[in-house]
């Protein structure tokens, strides 16, 4: 019958129109006095009493709180987590990158947990302006020194600023993603829940060789 189909379709539209929106406000959302008080760690009355300006702002929908949406733990974020103490400077990652955007310069000397005395990393620059976050470099790293990061809010105004230099990698907040790192999933580590992981011994799949082994190996092989 003509018209029945239209009614059916309208029912669908109506049902969806009555649902709460599924979109998410990002990067921040407006809150009222109650939300603002929660953000400031006060009761609504306390907020009005102690911070009347903030309360007035909130009442006029001018107060916003940042929105944090946790990603999944395998999320390949646009930064890298790199543990210098694990890195031997083998450059597998640089070779495996489809775009060749990792630049590594090493010099003899330095120390790492895998091989003992080895190479010092002078330059380890990742040009994430050209990176596609495929994660192949992380897959290639035999020593679990390089991990995908989980941060994604790293936009910059200039292209040059997109290159992550080695110093920044050294100091960066270390929140490794569990992409290609089953050891994180085994011990249920979630970068978005658990925060940073600074201990470089805990991020690898490899046993730490004892000091004697390292000494012996190094002495024998030298």
């Amino acid at each position: 019958m003509i018209g029945l189909g239209l009614l059916k379709a309208m029912r669908v539209t109506l049902r969806n129109a009555l649902k709460a929106p599924f979109t998410i406000q990002y990067p921040d959302r407006k809150v009222g006095i109650v939300g603002a008080a929660k953000e400031e760690g006060k009761s609504p009355i306390g907020l009005v009493a102690t911070q009347p300006v903030t309360a007035a702002k909130a009442a006029m929908s001018m107060y916003s709180v940042p929105v944090n949406i946790p990603q999944n733990r395998r999320f390949r974020g646009n930064e890298f987590t790199w543990y210098e103490d694990r890195c031997t400077g083998c450059a597998s990652c640089a070779k495996y990158c489809p775009l060749g955007i990792i630049e590594i310069v090493t010099s003899p000397g330095g120390f790492d947990v895998q091989e003992g005395e080895s190479y010092a990393i002078d330059v380890f620059d990742i040009d994430i302006g050209r990176c596609m976050f495929c994660g192949l470099c992380v897959e290639a790293c035999p020593y679990d020194a390089l991990h995908m990061g989980s941060n994604f809010e790293r936009s910059k105004y200039e292209r040059d600023a997109l290159v992550i230099p080695v110093d920044e990698l050294r100091q960066a907040l270390k929140q490794p993603s569990s992409w290609f790192r089953p050891q994180f999933e085994e011990r249920d580590y979630d970068p978005f829940r658990d925060g940073a992981e600074d201990d470089h011994y805990k991020v690898g799949r490899h046993e730490k060789p004892s000091d004697e082994t390292l000494d012996e190996r190094w002495v024998e092989e030298r």
């Binding site: 003509i2 018209g3 029945l4 189909g5 239209l6 059916k8 379709a9 029912r11 669908v12 539209t13 049902r15 969806n16 599924f22 990603q71 999944n72 733990r73 395998r74 999320f75 390949r76 495996y96 489809p98 596609m132 976050f133 495929c134 994660g135 192949l136 897959e139 290639a140 995908m148 993603s177 992409w179 290609f180 089953p182 999933e185």
Partner: protein, 372 residues
């Protein structure tokens, strides 16, 4: 008595940057009044040379390029490429990896069809709202992909012989939840469209293609099945473990815009069935072959291989030639989007201006794949 009004034909350039073209596509259309009398499709604006780039990358690195060909069907692209590599190098895939990639690619098929159906309604003039209904469902599937491989669009999930990592344990309940929620949403789409008089009058009998025409132009996928030709590679030439699952192949006989939309909606239901069966059949085990069998720097023997899958848009094939080195000597893609476009002129000539983009959208092309 009707009076004849003489009109001058007018030629209009549509695109490449036009809000309603599906990507950077340009058509030079000649109209006589509202009627289309000639169409000249011009493409190549999104050419990135993926096939050439593949020649200087190793076999695993090329996966990242396949993601970017049809970016609403990345998992399916990964799958087609991996089948070609496995055939070329004689790799025996790991069973759990194969099941996982079947699940991933069926999820991707649903996501891709959702996009196609959503944009069909959008082109009909229902701006925004129904598209958002489909995007909402697609978003849930993309979340599942993020769980699997950390990315939503550029997945790079598959590796020669399987997948790079097993699905995390939280994936299975999440996937079941999505699959439970989907059928009512697909019913909604059916309610919204299938009995709708407005949709009927706009899409039925528009841009009809006969099976003969399409077979001559080697058109595949939902377009062909919408004209009643039972051709689905998953059934005709089962790759992976598609011979172990049962599914229907929805067919329509009209071959018009409505039939193409209808086939896609029904196929989503079949994909859900396939995923449910895969979930029952999957067994614990390793998800990719040992490193010694499939090293990272794969060096397939000299030779060539062609492998094709039933992509959400048609037959997607990869033809690889190896000269024994670490990267393909030649990589050719049989892109369904490009080949399905070949009948565009036959579809559009004689139709009205308002139906032009509906017909164009019903081909379900993706410019990333047309131009590569």
């Amino acid at each position: 008595m009707t009076t004849q009004v003489r009109t001058e034909p007018i030629t209009v350039n549509l695109g490449p940057q036009h809000p309603s073209t599906h990507g950077v596509f340009r058509m030079r259309v000649t109209f006589d009044g509202e009627e289309i009398i000639d169409v000249e499709p011009i493409f190549g604006y999104l050419h990135r040379g993926s096939e050439k780039l593949a020649e200087e990358r190793t076999y695993v690195q090329v996966v990242t390029l396949t993601d970017r060909m049809d970016y609403v069907g990345s998992m399916l692209n990964n799958q087609a490429y991996m089948l070609a590599v496995e055939k070329l190098a004689g790799v025996e895939p790991a069973p759990r990896g194969v099941w996982l990639r079947m699940i991933a690619s069926e999820l991707q098929r649903i996501a891709s069809h959702l996009v196609a159906v959503g944009f069909l309604i959008q082109d009909l003039g229902a701006w925004g709202t129904p598209l958002i209904y489909t995007m909402r469902e697609r978003e849930k599937i993309l979340d599942l992909f993020e769980m699997l491989c950390g990315a939503r669009i550029t997945n790079s999930y598959l590796r020669p012989g399987g997948v790079f990592m097993d699905a995390p344990e939280e994936f299975w309940p999440a996937m079941n939840e999505v699959l439970d929620e989907l059928p009512p949403r697909i019913d909604d789409l059916d309610d919204l469209l299938t009995d709708n008089d407005i949709i009927f009058s706009r899409t039925k009998g528009v841009s009809v293609l006969t099976p003969e025409q399409m077979l001559d132009a080697s058109i595949t996928g939902p377009m062909l099945r919408a004209a009643g030709v039972d051709w689905d590679l998953r059934h005709r030439d089962p790759y992976d473990y598609y011979d172990q699952v049962t599914f229907e192949r929805p067919l329509h006989t009209a071959g018009d815009n409505f039939a193409r939309y209808w086939v896609r909606v029904q196929e989503m239901r079949e994909s859900i069935k396939i995923i449910r069966q895969c979930e029952k059949l999957i067994e614990p085990g390793s998800v990719r072959p040992e490193h010694d069998d499939v090293p990272w720097l794969l060096r397939p023997p000299v030779g060539d291989a062609y492998a094709a899958i039933e992509h959400s848009k048609g037959e997607l094939g990869f033809y690889l030639v190896s000269d024994g080195s670490i990267s393909p000597y030649r990589c050719h893609v049989r892109a369904p989007s490009l080949i399905n476009l070949t009948l565009l002129r036959d579809m559009l000539v004689g139709e009205l201006l308002a139906d032009m983009f509906v017909s164009f959208g019903s081909v379900d092309i993706n410019m990333g794949e047309v131009d590569r």
